[in-house]
């Protein structure tokens, strides 16, 4: 597993918002998300246009991070799997435990641009890991996966996500991290 030097968290001067001051809720029709704005326009559009539709169809569940009554971030989750393919049956079985690993995918993850650098992302990732652990008590789920935008890769790396593919195959970067407790 190659390691890279991970820089410390950026030294931004804005006061951090503690996790205890943020509440999380399922996206609902009554939420006002029209004022949400992210540096990636497609993430803004997803929340305002597609998220509720996908949630109603049980395709992806969206959670809002609320601070002082305002939506400061959101994330969407759905079930995923990590599949090892084209494995030679004669290959060394020491490393070959399962062909499939059930996962939860972070399909969308965005912070309101006015709240960047204030630990909203850390709070949301903490919520995601908590949700995934809870899900794993009811249905197999041991990994978190995400297709990170290039400018978000370091954020995920800071929290123990790893690049899944050595060779870049698309514009986003598939990453994973184990989300089970051992010991």
């Amino acid at each position: 597993m190659p390691f890279r030097n991970i820089p410390a968290a950026p030294d931004v001067r804005l006061p951090k918002i503690p996790l205890s001051d943020i509440t999380f809720g399922h996206l609902a029709a009554h939420h006002d998300v029209a004022s949400f704005s992210c540096t990636h326009q497609e993430l803004t559009d997803y929340l305002t246009v597609d998220a509720l539709k996908n949630q109603d169809a049980h395709v992806a569940v969206t959670y809002l991070a609320i601070y002082e009554g305002k939506c400061v971030g959101y994330f969407s989750l759905l079930n995923d799997s990590i599949i090892k393919k084209d494995i030679d049956p004669g290959d060394d079985k020491d490393w070959y435990n399962y062909s499939y690993y059930p996962a939860i995918k972070i399909a969308r993850f965005a912070t309101h641009q006015e709240y960047e650098g204030r630990d909203i992302g850390r709070a949301m990732l903490t919520a995601i890991r908590s949700i995934a652990i809870t899900v794993s008590k009811y249905s197999g789920c041991c990994v978190l996966s995400v297709d990170a935008k290039p400018d978000a890769e370091l954020f995920y790396e800071r929290f123990g996500f790893h690049r899944a593919l050595k060779t870049k195959k698309k514009s986003t970067i598939p990453m994973y991290r184990c989300n089970i407790f051992r010991g």
Partner: protein
């Protein structure tokens, strides 16, 4: 139109081996902030999930 959500991460060869090595001992490859988050989730995660409305 929104970017579609792609499901299923396929790993083969070295990528699959690296993943398997990682899953065998994930703590070894974790970061300080990842470990800190794990501790928090272990101690308070259930409470957080119950608070979601």
């Amino acid at each position: 139109m929104a970017q579609k959500i792609e499901l299923g991460l396929y790993l083969e060869g070295d990528d699959a081996r690296r993943f398997e090595r990682y899953m065998a001992d994930p703590a070894r490859y974790d970061t300080p902030e990842g470990r800190e988050m794990t501790r928090w989730v272990r101690d308070h995660g259930e409470e957080l999930v119950k608070s979601i409305r």
